[in-house]
Symmetry: C2
Subunit: 375 residues, 2 copies
């Protein structure tokens, strides 16, 4: 499975995997794909440095990347122009919303975090200053790709990446977003369809992928959203992509560190109709497991979610409590519609083997239909 | 582009086209695809007979089909079991909703229909008794396929079709629906993704197609939703479909009889983000152009749409008035997200030529990526 982009990066399969888990990212890179480590959960630069050290030791010199979350619009700039602290942003959250969080947790009897245990689920990485401190660390490592999940990164970051020979990728949910990325000097556009896990727009991959390919050609495009099998990879590549970008499928690999058997069980049991595109987690529409938590926030009778980044700050501790105590009705995670096919735990290598075998079978099939097979 | 199903039907390309226009259906059949005439707009059996006569004369003995709309659940059965008339159903519509229609039309200054001109937009074909009278006509013609847009047709209809050697197809928006169809003896399942025009579920084609293929194998599946180019056909076939089912793309062909230049212009100008999945037209979620009409019905401040078939009866005359007078802000039609690529008027033959050329190019591309091309 070789495209111009996979040749540029020197990888065997044009399969890019986004994951918050270093063990998954490294395993994918070793399996011939391209692992992209999500940095959003690293509040402390030292933690990121430790995991990048580990990645470096476990990728046999093969390429990998880093994914940060820099909002295109700065929300943390105060009117006077000075930088806001997390505390400043916290102060912007209305008491009504805090009360709604407390009431929803109380309704389900969610216990407090154990004494002295910090909230693990943090999204302060969504604030530009945190993302910048992550990048200061990351540029000390031989990363080959820097991806940004929200808009184009600032021009100085793009320039710094290019100076170091790092390709820059950005996610887009529409052809218009993709054109903005191209104008901002981005090297790779990830076309993220409606069916994807996490932040998505409303255009499905079948329509979005070729639109984005046409919009930014000759820039390479990765198809994201709805891809979890070799057949779906073949479809994404038929639509003009130079590779595929998978996130959800790794969540149920044996290398994933979900730290919650209940959540793994929920993912394995969920069908493709068990996700919802909700603002409950971050303030922007993100596809995730539908739970009583998302239902509460999507209920018109409630206060509704706050804009990013307020919602993420508001719910961070609550999400940690729900995860820590595995409160089943509220327990969720960002995941795409392919969750319906995530029905067993496999190693990353096994997943890659199945993806490549499935791709070859799909190519066989399409050749038979096109009348090009020898048989 | 040959699959087992296309061989069974004796067609050159596994491209199925749903259209309300006999000229489009016949042109597609003549171009080597399979035209499926939508019967829902035929209130009078004689009108359908006239158009099927015309189809017969203009299809050179090549195969074509008919699409009816029979709701799986009968809504017109009264508690006592007797059949309800259209007037009985009309009486179930609340005055609040009638007033909302009047107010919305008045706000936009929509004139009445000219004296003596009947409402052209009718959905009485959605009632089983009307669909049955359509079938009484259709079975006198050598149709090769009977498709049902809402659920499986009743068992006696399936049996009658099979007795006459007519294959039966049914649309499904989920693997569960598809399994019901298989159990009901349906021959072909049309997997209709979220991005499709008209009635859709929430699962996108990229995820839905292979789920439905797995659910009903070895029954053949047609991929529908998001397909308007040869690349998208290749994607649908890579996902395991035995053919594709296209509806939207024919709306801007030269053979289409939209009878509204303003609507054609709107379709040609619309982007993939200009559709909405709304209950405004029929009472069930159907993708269509987003207009001030759909906005009014989707507004939480309004009364909201009634269930099928009440909404369709409620808005039928209003839709006719909007179309007759080409009231631009309210003017819409069911159409899928591929409307973004419908940017010029072409003949059906030109569309088919582009589809087949695009398919061949996509196959070339996927073979290069798979390392199977000679060059």
């Amino acid at each position: 499975m070789k495209t111009e982009l996979s040749r540029t990066l020197g990888i065997e399969h044009a399969i890019f995997g986004f994951t918050p888990f270093p063990a998954v990212a490294a395993a994918l890179t070793r399996a011939g794909g391209f692992g992209v480590l999500g940095a959003v959960r690293y509040t402390a630069p030292d933690d990121l440095a430790r995991d990048l050290d580990w990645m470096q030791e476990h990728t046999d010199g093969l390429p990998y990347g880093l994914d940060v979350v820099m909002p295109a619009k700065k929300v943390e700039a105060a009117p006077g122009g000075q930088t806001l602290t997390e505390a400043d942003v916290e102060a912007m959250i209305p008491e009504e919303h805090r009360a709604f969080v407390r009431a929803t947790l109380a309704k389900h009897g969610v216990p407090e975090l154990p004494e002295g245990e910090a909230s693990g689920w943090r999204i302060t990485g969504w604030m530009e200053q945190v993302a910048r401190s992550q990048l200061d660390v990351a540029f000390d490592y031989p990363i080959k790709l820097l991806a940004n999940a929200l808009g184009s990164p600032p021009p100085d970051i793009v320039a710094r990446a290019h100076d170091q020979g790092v390709l820059v990728a950005a996610l887009a949910g529409s052809a218009r977003h993709a054109r903005h990325h191209a104008e901002a000097g981005i090297d790779i556009v990830v076309a993220q369809g409606y069916e994807a896990g996490g932040h998505t727009g409303e255009i499905a991959s079948m329509v979005l992928t070729p639109e984005v390919v046409d919009a930014v050609s000759p820039l390479p495009v990765l198809a994201a959203g709805g891809i979890g099998s070799g057949e779906q990879i073949a479809a994404g590549l038929a639509l003009g992509a130079q590779g595929v970008w998978l996130g959800s499928i790794w969540l149920t690999t044996t290398e994933a560190e979900l730290h919650s058997r209940a959540l793994t069980a929920k993912l394995l049991a969920a069908g493709s109709g068990d996700t919802v595109r909700s603002r409950a987690l971050t303030g922007k529409p993100a596809r995730q497991l539908r739970t009583e938590w998302t239902d509460a926030w999507d209920d018109p009778a409630g206060p509704g979610p706050l804009p990013m980044p307020l919602q993420g700050l508001l719910v961070a501790e609550a999400v940690s409590r729900i995860q820590r105590h595995e409160v089943e009705p509220l327990l969720g995670t960002p995941v795409g519609q392919i969750v319906g096919r995530m029905n067993s735990e496999r190693s990353v290598q096994q997943v890659v083997d199945e993806l490549t075998r499935g791709f070859e079978k799909a190519v066989d099939r399409i050749n038979r239909i096109a009348g090009r097979s020898e048989s």
